[in-house]
Symmetry: C2
Subunit: 200 residues, 2 copies
């Protein structure tokens, strides 16, 4: 009964090729210009085949979003591991998040493209809870070590994520020119403020 296996394997290959083609198109023309027909042409199948693998276009973007968070999480873990103190961990993760956003603009724009992940969407992206967990841990440590141990860590996680995202999205417009140094300063400014805000 190796036939069923072969078929499954082939189906998985087509699915993968859809995602790869979609990703190439996003890289080349931006996620706004992604279309089912372009994907179909790229994978050399007819349009309806795509709907055998994904319910709709949004599901494809959702899958790319998941991939983005996977990649981001991996880099956050690496950043955390390389850091010593709790404080350094938070700083390293903020920096890693920032770096990820600018080194993977296409991913970041897909991940937050339709606006911030909506309530329904959040539950579909399991990677998001990993993400939250990663950042929550050092925040809890920092709170425990600070002078206000009853501070709500979720509140701080919320703040951390929100502000960082805000900084990035507003800086992402200027893009191009010699703003890199200014941006670095904004980031450092933020981290310093955030950490001392918890310790105080």
């Amino acid at each position: 009964m190796g036939i069923a296996e072969r078929k499954k394997r082939h189906k998985a290959e087509v699915r993968t090729s859809i995602l790869e083609a979609a990703w190439q198109l996003v890289l080349q023309e931006g996620w706004q210009a992604l279309s089912i027909r372009k994907i179909a042409e790229a994978i050399e199948y007819s349009v309806p085949v795509i709907y055998d693998h994904f319910a709709n276009k949004e599901a494809i973007l959702l899958e790319l979003t998941k991939q983005g968070f996977q990649k981001l999480n991996a880099q956050l873990i690496k950043a955390q591991e390389g850091a010593g103190s709790t404080e350094e961990k938070i700083a390293a993760m903020a920096y890693a998040y920032w770096k990820f956003a600018f080194e993977n603009k296409a991913y970041y724009q897909v991940m937050y493209g339709l606006g911030i992940p909506s309530c329904e969407t959040v539950n579909q992206i399991s990677e998001l809870s990993t993400f939250s967990g990663l950042i929550l841990a050092p925040i809890k440590d920092l709170i425990a070590a600070g002078s206000n141990p009853e501070t709500d860590p979720f509140l701080k996680l919320h703040t951390f994520w929100s502000m960082l995202h805000g900084l990035i999205s507003i800086n992402m417009m200027g893009s191009g020119e010699g703003k890199e140094e200014l941006n670095q300063m904004v980031l450092q400014d933020f981290i310093r403020g955030f950490v001392t805000g918890i310790k105080a």
Copy 2:
């Protein structure tokens, strides 16, 4: 030659009705669902008439964006006037900005819908420079009164706007339920951190 006047007036009326219809549609179905054809039907004109008044669909959204910033600016001015100290001014404006966003979600989403206003877009929205000016003034005052008078006020404006926008956009997803109090805390947290960050 009152004829030309009447024609001008009529043309202006049609233009206004386009914007009003567009706004109603945005309120009812969200800006993503806005379409030229729906506007045309609402104003009881054929589709091409709309292109006599606006170059394209984006121009209509741009006009709504301008209206949004006008309204926001008005509320920021009011907030600033009602506040005493420089510090209170900044807090009041942050709160007013926040309040505007949540009381006018449709506007806020149009204003930041296509992502943050891009470099080209910024120049088309004169209201944006008014906005910047409004926030810049108290920031400058606070810097002057603080212990680091050489701090770049534009950097701080940047930070202020970015973080506030981030807080709002991430909080805008949760929307609905009993998160209002938590949100208030996040905002207060932000303001406190921002102000002390400048003074220190």
